[in-house]
Symmetry: C2
Subunit: 209 residues, 2 copies
Amino acid sequence: MKNITGRTIERLSVYRRLLGKLAGEGRGKVYSHGLAAAAGVTAAQVRRDLMEIGCSGNTKRGYDIEELVGFIGDVLDNPAGEPVALVGLGNLGRALLPFFASHHPKLKIVASFDSDPAKTGRVIHGCRSYPAGELRRVIESERIRVAILTVPAAAAQEVAGELAAAGVRGILNFAPETLRLPEEVVVENMDMAIALDKIACLARRHRPE
Amino acid sequence: MKNITGRTIERLSVYRRLLGKLAGEGRGKVYSHGLAAAAGVTAAQVRRDLMEIGCSGNTKRGYDIEELVGFIGDVLDNPAGEPVALVGLGNLGRALLPFFASHHPKLKIVASFDSDPAKTGRVIHGCRSYPAGELRRVIESERIRVAILTVPAAAAQEVAGELAAAGVRGILNFAPETLRLPEEVVVENMDMAIALDKIACLARRHRPE
DNA sequence: TATCTTCTGTGATTCATTTCACAGTGAGAT
DNA sequence: ATCTCACTGTGAAATGAATCACAGAAGATA
């Protein structure tokens, strides 16, 4: 299994969520077009994605849901589990904690940080919060490779640099700021200002044919 | 100006933010490679994007920052302003309010909604909150075309349908749920669970050459 | 004025991603 | 036992997006 693209990974994550729902409804098998309709993509796309991760369906019964979830997990998840840090305990950061505290099989927020001492030293949603000065030590000792960044834009670049220096290799960036980091660090921007600009603009000019 | 892609719109939004910062530092002109470095893209990409919205730079001085901001605004913004609704006043929704209350020239959250009466009837961050039952009336009377959806996943599809029926044409969806809507509605997903899956997976396999 | 340099604007190309379309397959019907 | 139908797996084609690379422009320099 060579280089699987980010796009494909996103779709696999969508499929997994939908498959979990189907399994919960007692379904055991699913056709490519069934998954496709639920995920809002084409059936050919689903088949190609599944092919890419090396999993096969039965010609007449479709794909086995449980098996599929297993295959997707093999691709997406770190089998040892993936500890995640949350940096920035403002309104947004605190709002995200319970969001992620939800039942993901492997990802877990194990530490959070803030520069404001009033917000640290406690346990919020089962996750211990540390002062910013402890960042490097905790990240290193817990071997954290993935972080969520919810600090103010003005601090984002500096904090991101510290994270990278401490060993973090993937950052989910909520700050409205373009991060400049060494190329071994993967950054995914969740920039709401840009997203709103985009949908406002597209919605205005979008006219279905 | 024909069909400008979503990708390009996102970059234009990034450019605008950076240009604002440059203007604040007293810069009046910028080269394509200057903007490119700040935005993390190539100079050719910047030139092509700017070409696409019909704006020209001077061969030897580069682009005029103020003019550029104007051109980008002409493409991205609704000149009449764009009222936005926020639906769902849970932790996440409340955390987003101040985020967007920030100084966008045209976008403004003018109304928010929640099904819990305890959360409505007030004014939060300068934005009046209404009970869910008022949704259609307010959206129609305020002519709101863009909405941010921060309700629980289980309610997302239903609420999105109501929004579309009330006239909303663009939805920024924070719920971990694939929305099925008529094609005249533009949906942009801000799905944190998927994004985390993605960076965790990419960070693990990513090895710069 | 002539030359040099460094920029922009853009056709052509490359690269990435999605869709098409069909051969192959197997369960169920007859 | 064979036929039929609806599915999968996948090469090939189409589409979409980013990059290359260079002609042309204009300030700087002498």
